[in-house]
């Protein structure tokens, strides 16, 4: 069941490398890219369902540049509650697609569940402008979930800009940890 992660994982890497080599853009159209058909064609080998194994990510350096799409940030279930973004970008990372689909599935199956998408920016730039930038990140995640069929009544957005950092330092890695959307269940938490 889980083994299809490996080809998917290769795709994530490819997406990560592609993202690294291109200029960051405000265009969030990639948020709706659907990779499920591609992964569906991958060969599937049976695996014990009782031993869910995470892909080995130790060979991938966890740098600030690829932090947002580093596989170790996302486990593909509703346990993952933070989506990271590249610098100056509001593109939902491909590495987070499976996690967001898991949330979408949960929300569709539990109509009482509601979540708040809390957008954050790093400290660079002016405060109110960063509030606006962080709103774009929440909206990109909202759009992704809506495309998956989640009802808008289950989704709420709040934008904090740089006011609630997750990391308090001032390094590239701290900034990478702060450019994020937090998925916060306000009702029907899984």
């Amino acid at each position: 069941m889980r083994s299809f992660l490996n080809p998917l994982f290769a795709l994530m890497l490819a997406a990560a490398l592609a993202a690294c080599s291109s200029t960051p853009t405000e265009d969030d159209s990639s948020a709706t890219d659907d990779m499920s058909q591609q992964t569906d064609t991958s060969p599937v080998t049976p695996v014990e369902p009782s031993t869910p194994s995470k892909p080995d990510t130790s060979s991938i350096p966890l740098t600030a540049d690829n932090f947002y799409n580093h596989p170790s940030n996302y486990d593909g279930t509703t346990d993952s509650r933070v989506i990271y973004f590249a610098f100056d970008s509001n593109t939902v990372p491909a590495a987070a697609f499976e996690t967001l689909r898991a949330h979408a599935t949960y929300l569709k199956n539990n109509s009482n569940a509601k979540l708040r998408l809390e957008g954050h920016a790093d400290e660079r730039g002016t405060r109110e402008y960063n509030v606006a930038l962080s709103e774009r990140r929440s909206k990109a995640v909202e759009k992704f979930l809506r495309v998956q069929g989640v009802s808008s009544s289950q989704l709420e957005i709040v934008s904090y800009g740089e006011e609630k950092p997750a990391a308090f330092g001032h390094s590239e890695m701290d900034w990478a940890k702060n450019r994020r959307v937090e998925i916060n269940y306000t009702a029907g938490r899984p």
Partner: protein, 425 residues
Amino acid sequence: MSRIALLVVILLSFSTARAELLIRVTEGRVDAVPIAIVPFEGAQNAPEDVSQIVQADLHRSGQFKPLPAEDMLSRPRNESEVIYRDFRVLGVEYIITGSMKAQETGGYEVSYALFDVNRQVKLMSETYRPPVSQLRDVAHAISDRIYEQLTGIPGAFSTKILYVTHNRNDKNPYQLQYADADGHRVTTILRSKEPIMSPTWSPDGRKVAYVSFEDDGLPGIYTHDLATTNREKVSSFRGINGAPDWSPDGQKLALTLSRDGNPEIYMLDMATKQLTRLTQHYGIDTEPRWLPDGEHLVFTSSRSGGPQIYKLNINDKSVRRVSFQGAYNARPDVTPDGRYLVYVHRRNGNFNVGVQDLQRGTFNIVTRTDMDESPSVAPNGSMVIYGTQDRGTGVLEAVSIDGRVKVKLPSKEGEVREPAWSPFL
């Protein structure tokens, strides 16, 4: 018993002093005017030394270089004791003398006189009789009078600075405070577990407006009467409620709302609560500031890609780009005469404060640190206070509009940010 009481008083005054901002002039003008503020007679025994406060004020303006008291050849207490020669040989151009006399009624009589060394004349003298609680106010009023007499510009020493502090070890990490322009007499207006941002003054200085996320983590714009502490939530729409700025007549609030899908500038009539949308663009429009004419706003917009400064006519809603240097210009403020725009400019990855002369079209970067933000102009247009970082902590600094004078206001605990200089009070 009285010893215990004294100890308590000392502890209290010590803890107050810790919370205050300590001010240090880091760069002064080479041509700062040498001035001698002779320690006021009777000031040593007074609860506040008015001559020291005046000296610190004038020094902090960067326009004056006070002569240390220990270098003075004579210490005149009044006009009859002034020996101009003693000061001329030291290159001093002006002398201030004065006295503080305790009154039987409990207050003080504070007198001062200002002398011109070159012309050997008294320029002005005044007497005040304040209660003890107003000694600092009198000192700042004296500084204002002397500054105006010698520079022709009204002094801004009697003004206040409003700012946000963040101390994540505190039960209420976010606090809104104001203090005298010299950092003393801190008053906390609001304590919150959730962020407080974008504080700003009403034009009469009686109220402030700010964004607070106190209500379930969602943003609201509040107005807050400083004397009565009455608060009013004036905006809490879906999405962003941000960047309030009071119109010069105090009747409207410019603000940013994203209730129609993306951030746009609106105008809220405070009396009728009528809301008027002023911008119409799919890019980000935010950080509005009124120009002194009350007919125009400047604001930050991403309509050309990155953030740039634009000017908006509130009557016909026409928009014109104002900033052209560099790829990142945001969060404008305006001098009281409307001549200069002050805003955040990114250069080589650093964020600095830039000053654009709207008359001559010139642009100057006036700060050299990094992460400089939220510039706010003094009501006399002489200085700009802004937030920056010192060894990873948010601190306030001030710079003269020509960039020649810099003043640091380091805080002892937590972060200080988003300073807003009050109007004349």
